[in-house]
Homo-oligomer: 256 residues x 2
DNA sequence: AAGTGGTCTAGACCACCAT
DNA sequence: TGGTGGTCTAGACCACTTA
């Protein structure tokens, strides 16, 4: 199924502007996997014919999706669907830097445990688990750099959505976790939100990080979303901030 | 001095696009106070004449500044310079919500102490203090809601930039701190960045927040910037996260 | 050289807001 | 009703990338 085989019907008299209708049509193509991560989308001239509008309208639609981080335009090459990889992880989803440094660091990630469990009430609710499968994977990782670990990461995802996932598959991925979601399960993380507080380290976390029990840690609760704001991942990070900081950078973002 | 009295010379053969040149000219008008917070800027047709370009080019320049949060377009009314007030504080600069709540809360702010001090080496460097005045204000506030305080906020700003600031003036402001900067000192905070880690509460902070010494707190180091990424404020917040969370929301921001 | 997105034009018409 | 920004057109030409 190619996007160029579809018939789109943009309503010229709608309350919603045509550029937004086109943005939504493209967004749905992404959601329905007619357009896939990394793929080159049709060029602007083709889209003009496909939607039967002028080029400025197409460009506004694409520009919006680019601002959302879903499409990437490359002059001279074409427009591509965003793709999760080591690079995007580091710059969009890894929010730590060594103390007194501005440079991001590529962390080591090491699996601690991989389990399949009955979901809690809260997990059922947040992940909106179906009645016929209320199991979840609990995946614990430790992250760090320079032979030291600072972060314990607990990932909770629904078994229903990641049915064929195995520990072996998880360990043998040769890319980021979000890349695995994207390529093996067609689940594309579009965005996330985070909440932060302090908690004392429990026994297990303390052992993994080589610190005392009750050492104060950052607890970061991250919610991972896919298309249409559907929640697909609950991630809880416990962070020992002896040598690293959580960062929220400022961008003086220019551009369209 | 009105912007319409100026002569702008947009280079049609420059490497930098005309829309970016116009954006930079407008940005400099803001920096030089030719355009002030809250002010209505000339309408698009006037700007077209002023810069001698077509309306699409003007709109792209304004759209960029709108994305940066510096201008606000209101259909039917005009385009205005962004202005710091209670509303913008709550939605752009106050990053806390009560636990298990999504709604933002308007915090109480209460002055703890107001002092004028010799700057430390680090403060001199970060704030880029001039050789002839290396003093800073240290302003401590406590913030909270529902008759309880959760945050101790230390603000460090240069005396050179806020020369006439007094405790009385600070206390009697009837708006946010950034509004005071903007209206009394013509210093406009354009953006900020933050770093977070955990620290144990020291004696003073514990007393102010009514907690035990060494209670784990979030320490948030915020850097406040004005035009051209000049640092004008160092803010350190100590947060007791018993009932509140630091939030980093996700926006599925559409728009231009 | 061919193909892509980026910039820019010179309008037209619409939706919204105040008076 | 008059003025504002929002949408949309149908092009032209430029800058960048790959071959």
């Amino acid at each position: 199924m190619s996007i160029t085989d579809l018939n789109f019907d943009i309503d010229r008299n709608s309350q919603t502007p045509m550029w937004l209708q086109i943005r939504d049509e493209l967004y749905n193509c992404l959601h329905q996997e007619i357009l896939r991560p990394g793929q080159l989308i049709p060029n602007e001239k083709t889209l003009v014919e496909l939607f039967n509008v002028s080029i400025g309208t197409v460009r506004k639609a694409i520009g919006t999706l680019e601002n959302e981080g879903i499409l990437i335009r490359k002059q001279g090459l074409g427009t591509f669907v965003f793709e999760h990889d080591a690079n995007s992880f580091q710059f969009k989803y890894f929010h730590f830097v060594p103390r007194n440094s501005e440079e991001t660091v590529i962390p080591n990630v090491e699996l601690v445990s991989f389990e399949r469990k009955k979901a809690t009430k809260s997990e059922i609710e947040i992940l909106n688990l179906p009645a016929d499968n209320r199991n979840v994977f609990h995946i614990y990782n430790k992250l760090g750099f320079r032979n030291k670990f600072y972060i314990v990461d607990k990932i909770v995802i629904s078994v229903a959505k990641f049915l064929s996932l195995t520990e072996e598959m998880y360990v043998n991925r040769n890319n980021t976790i979000y890349n695995l979601y994207q390529n093996k399960f067609n689940i594309f993380i579009t965005d996330c939100s985070e909440k932060i507080r302090t908690v004392p380290a429990n026994g297990e976390t303390a052992k993994i990080l080589g610190i005392d029990i009750d050492t104060p840690l950052l607890r970061i609760d991250r919610t991972g979303y896919t298309y249409h704001n559907e929640i697909v991942e609950i991630r809880t990070s416990y962070v020992h901030t002896s040598d690293i900081d959580y960062v929220r950078p400022h961008f003086s973002a220019l551009g369209e």
